[in-house]
Each structure stands twice: as C-alpha cells, then as structure tokens.
C-alpha cells in the first residue's frame, strides 16, 4: 500500500521529469521571437555577405570577396576611426555629466522631483526629432543660439556651426549628451539608491569623510550599474547614425560618417547589399568583442569565485 510519503515521492519525481518541459514551454515564445527577429536575419545577412548582391538584378556568389574588399576599403577604415573617436568622447562626456547629476538628484531636497523630470525629459524625444530640433537651434540664419549670441553681443560675426568639423562635432556631442544624459542619470540613480543606507551610516560613524565614502563605498558598490550604463552608452554610440545623417549628412566634407552610415550608403546609395551585409557582420563582431571585453573587465577583481 502506498502511504502518503510514497505518493509525495511519486509526485516529486513526476514534477522533476516535467520540469525541463515546462521550462522550455515558458521560454518558447521568447525563443521564437529571438529566432525570427535575430537569428534568422543574421544568418540571412551572412548569406548575403557572400554574394555580389545588387539592389536591382540578380545576386552572384563571390565567396569572401566582400570581406577581402573591406580590409583595403579606406572609407570603411575612416568610418571605423571616426566611430571609435565619437564613442570615446561621447561616453566620457555623458558620464562626466550624468554622474554628478545622479549624485545631485539622489538626495532628498527641495524640487528634486522637478530636477529629475527636466533632466530626463529629452530622453523621451526621438533621436531624429531631437536632431532636427537642433539643426534649427544652431542654424546660422534662422535658428536660436547663433542670432541670440549675436544679439547679446557675445559674437560679432555669425558662425555656421555645422560647416566646420570641430564645431559641428561639438554641436552633435552636446545634442547627444542633452538627449541621453538623463537616461544614464536614471540608471546610475537606481544604482545609488540600491546601496543600503546602513552601510553609509556605518561608514559615517567610523569617521569616513564624504570623498572616502564615495571612493571606497559608493563606487565599488556601483560597479555593476556603471558597467550597465557603459555598455548601453558604448553600444549606442557605435551604432550612431541618425544624428550624423540628419544634422550634417555626414559632412562637412564627409568627415562625420559613422560605420552604420557607411553601411547605409553602401546598401542604399550604392545599391550594394552584399557589401553592406558583410560590413554589418563585421560591425556585429566588433560589438560582440567590445561587450566581451567590458563584461570581462567587470568581473576582474570582483569579490566572487
């Protein structure tokens, strides 16, 4: 006769046997989505990259021809260099702006909700919309900043900010920081708020100064949050396109063509989808490598086995 224990054991065994099944069912929808919208397109892109694939006309198999072409493509190399330069600058500036802001709005003080809101507000504006808005703001003839600066007597000649590399680049960086810093701030803020107040309390009682508390308590505990914010910022910058396309069309004199912009040009201006696909695969590999390095750096020195 089977006692209650035996029935319980049977049930447990059954459950264990079904556990894998159930788990699979739960993730199946997500897997299907990833399969349809990520894995298959990537495989198809890989297939395309092995062809001379014109937008009009029939594709022709050329093996790794597109990849060998890439290595000696000076314009692609220039786009890579520019994208790297942009990514480094933008990421540093965003952090330099967002971290102090996060520290500032973390404390409960007067109007803190208001500050958080206005800093976050630009995040909800689409990047293309923001770019168009800034094209107008900095326009030399009909915009806001330049005529305003002249009216205030700050400048006597109106400069066309978008016509020169340095000022156009600075304008785009300022626009992106204005647009993105609020988002990074919110991420950092959640990290800051996750630090138990007992710890800071204890450190204070032990006599740690404000800078010491920040350096030896806050920063180490923020490690994962910072890494997350960095990965988001770097990935976003490596994939930057809209702002260059809209604000300067890659100019002045083609000095601001990011990698994605170059892929767009190859695919839809030169109608060379095969080469565009090969460039996309290369960019994917680069992004994966960057993420691996970042995750590795995150783990180094972490107090875990």
């Amino acid at each position: 006769m089977a006692g209650p224990e035996a029935i319980g054991a049977l049930r447990r065994r059954k459950r264990r046997r079904h556990a894998g099944w159930h788990g699979f069912l739960y993730i199946a929808p997500a897997m299907a989505l990833v399969l349809v919208f990520f894995v298959l397109p990537v495989l198809f892109t890989g297939w395309m990259s092995l062809h001379n694939w014109p937008l009009l006309g029939n594709p022709r198999w050329i093996g790794f021809g597109n990849y060998t072409r890439m290595v000696s493509d000076v314009r692609f190399m220039a786009a890579l260099r520019f994208t790297a330069y942009y990514t480094v600058i933008v990421t540093i500036v965003i952090f330099a702006v967002a971290f102090p802001l996060a520290l500032y709005v973390e404390k409960q003080r007067r109007l803190v909700g208001f500050y958080r809101t206005i800093i976050f507000l630009p995040v909800v504006v689409g990047l293309a919309t923001a770019s168009l808005l800034w094209v107008w703001l900095v326009n030399v003839d009909s915009g806001f900043f330049v005529p305003a600066a002249q009216a205030l007597g700050l400048i006597d000649r109106r400069p066309n900010l978008l016509a020169d590399f340095d000022t156009a680049f600075a304008t785009i960086v300022v626009m992106v920081v204005w647009k993105i810093a609020g988002f990074t701030m919110i991420i950092l803020l959640t990290g800051l708020q996750a630090i138990p107040s007992e710890l800071t309390e204890a450190a204070r009682i032990d006599g740690a100064r404000r800078w010491q508390r920040f350096r030896f308590l806050t920063l180490p505990l923020m490690r994962r949050t910072i890494a997350l914010a960095l990965i988001i910022s770097i990935t976003g910058s490596v994939l930057a396109f809209d702002q260059f396309y809209i604000m300067t069309s890659g100019g002045p004199q083609n000095q601001m063509i990011s990698v994605v912009y170059y892929i767009f040009n190859q695919s839809f201006v030169s109608f060379n989808l095969g080469y565009g696909a090969a460039l996309s695969i290369a960019l994917l590999v680069i992004l994966v490598l960057i993420s691996i390095v970042q995750l590795w750096l995150l783990r180094v020195g972490e107090d875990r086995p």
């Binding site: 009009l56 016509a163 890659g250 100019g251 201006v269 030169s270």
Partner: protein, 412 residues
Amino acid sequence: MMKRLLAATGLISLCLMSGASAAEISMWVRSGIGDSFKKVVEAYNASHDDKVTMTEVPFSELVQKYATAIAGGQAPDALSMDLIYTPAFAAAGQLEDLTDWAKSLPYFNSLSPSHVKLGTYQDHIYGLPLSVETSVFAWNKDLYKKAGLDPDKAPATWDEITSNAEKIRALGGDTYGFYFSGGGCGGCMIFTFTPLTWGAGADILSADGKKATLDTPQMRKAVDIYRNMVKKDLVPAGAASDTGANFLSISNGKIGQQSIGAFSIGTLITQYPDIHFGVTLIPSVDGKTSSFAGGDNFVISKGTKKLDAVKKFLEYTYSLDGQKIMAKYGSLPTRGDIADQVLQGLDPRMQVGLKAISIAKTPYTLQFNDLINSANGPWAGFTNAAIFGDNVDSAFSNAQSEMQSIIDNAQQ
C-alpha cells in the same frame, strides 16, 4: 520587413484592381513631381476607359522600393523616375525595350534629346521623357532696383553677376547677393553649378562615363567664381551646411540672384507672388550658356501584361492636350515640335526654361547616385571642399581619384 510591407500593400492594390474590365495601370511616381503629372492622370482617367492608379513614392526611396517590389513580384506597370537612373535600371534588365515603338512615334525626333539619351542603353531605348526640368538663372528685380541696378537687364557674365551681388550685399543686413546649396547636396550642385563648365566645353565625366575629368581649367575658374563670392560674404553662411533643404532660398526675398530649376518658376509665381524675378540662361565661365536637363523618364516594368495600355497613356501625355495640362501646372513641354503651341498664353518666363532644353546636358553614368547625387559622394564632397575649404588643390585631387575609383570598381 520592408519587403513584407510592400508585398502587403501590393496585394491590397491587386485586390482593388481585380474586377474592372478596362485596363488598370499601376504607376509609381517620385514624390515632389508636383501637380503637373497628377493633373494629366486625372484628365486621362476622366476621359478614357483605362484607368491609371498613381502612387507617390518618396524620391529617396523609389529605387529601394522598386527593387523590393520586383523581388516580391509586385512591381508597378510603369514608373516615372529621375532620368539619371534610367541607364542603371536598364542595365539591371528590369525594363521593357521600347525601341521600335518609340521610333515609330511621329514626334520621336523632337522629344527632349537629353532624356532620350539617358533613356538609351546599349542602343536600345528603355525610357522616354515624361517631365522636363532645366536649370536657369533667376534674379530678384526688387533688390536689383534697390541696389541701383537695371531690374530688366539679365546678367550675361559671372563678372557681372559678382559685381551685382556686391551691390546687393551692400544693402546690408540679411540681404545677400547670391545663394547656392553647397553643404552636401550633390544633386543641387550638379543642377546649378556644372553648367558653368559645360557651356565652356568641359565636363566632369568623359562622354562614355568611364573617366573622371574633374580637373579642368574651366572647373578651376568656376570654383574661383563661387569661392570668391563666399569669401566676399556675398552668400549667406548657411549655404555651407545646406543639404538641399533651402534650395529655393530666393523665395525669402533676401537673395539677389540664384540658379534655380525651371520648375521653381511655377512655384515662385503661384506661391510667392511678392517675389518679382527675372529668368535667364545660366552663363558659363566664358559667357556661353548651358543648363542641366533634369526631370523624369517614363519606363515600363519588364513583363507587365498591360504594355499596350501603358503606351496608350504615354501617347496621351505627349498629345497637345496632355502637354498643355503638364505645362499649365509648371512642367516644360517634352515635345519640341509643339512647344510654342503648348506654352501659348502661359508666363513668358517659361520660355527661358524651354530654350534651355536644346542646350541642356545630363551626365550619362550607371553610378549617378554614387558619384553625384549622394551627399557623401565625391561630387558633393568636392564642391563643398573646393568652394568652402582651405585647400582647393587637394579638393580637386581627392575628388578626382575617388570618382575614378568608384567608376573603376563598378567596371569589374
């Protein structure tokens, strides 16, 4: 995604089409073609059993959409597209060969020559002119008057244009003597700036399109003229970053002179009645005149079942009725033999655009987009660097070698 979307819209239009007895022609046109062609379609649909269903496709997406529609088996029966694309489309084998029919048209020899040339690929005709646009030179008569110039005297040389620009700039404030979209608009600059060299006998490409011939004394002179005007502050600073958005700056009333398209004549007359302007042909560096022949060619998708109906419709647009409707809404006559009749009673300034057709040119190349139209192509980069940059020589040598390498890569 795009493909599926297109397939879906194609399917819907297919469903809408079935059930009618007379032929239903589906036709794509690039957006911005203006009212002229729309009105012809309206008139045709009202007076014929066959019906034309016109779909406007954004100019910059037409090629992509057409390509994906072909891939999805949903290509429209006919297409009106920027004439410069005809050789590339024909080379891809996607168009019906119209040679015999075209040559049988009694007015074939009086069709806009540049359009027919662009519509021809390896001695076969794939495209015929639909709408004709030429570039012309316009000046603001009110500003001429204010600056003490004769408002009815068209400038004939660039020396004259420059000195007029100086006098107009001297009015001060926001008033400038000259304008051009030079930031990164290859399409604008080929339209307005190359006539300076064409009239003087030079060109940026060899006749067969296989050699870049950018660096000529004529082009150096042309660059000097524009550079000089920029340096003297006769051109608004915004020109250096204008990617084409402000192409019709003369409409703001503060620009004294500008090269524009003949289509802008209609726009200026109807939408900016306060601008009093004169129109003349664009002088070249040596004073002879030239123009860019732009506009659209009419092409028919290979394998369409409605070939005859499409031809009938095109013959209607070439008829005096069709031509008159086109002209009334701002498009120049496509047929030279009846041009005078067509333009009768219309604004006399249209005549200048018409005169330009016979001297107008269009570069013939399969890589027009890559070389010239693209904001990142060598031509756009060259005009920007040579006119606004510090080093003219390197602008010439960079663009020359980049152009040649694009041409060479495409030959492989």
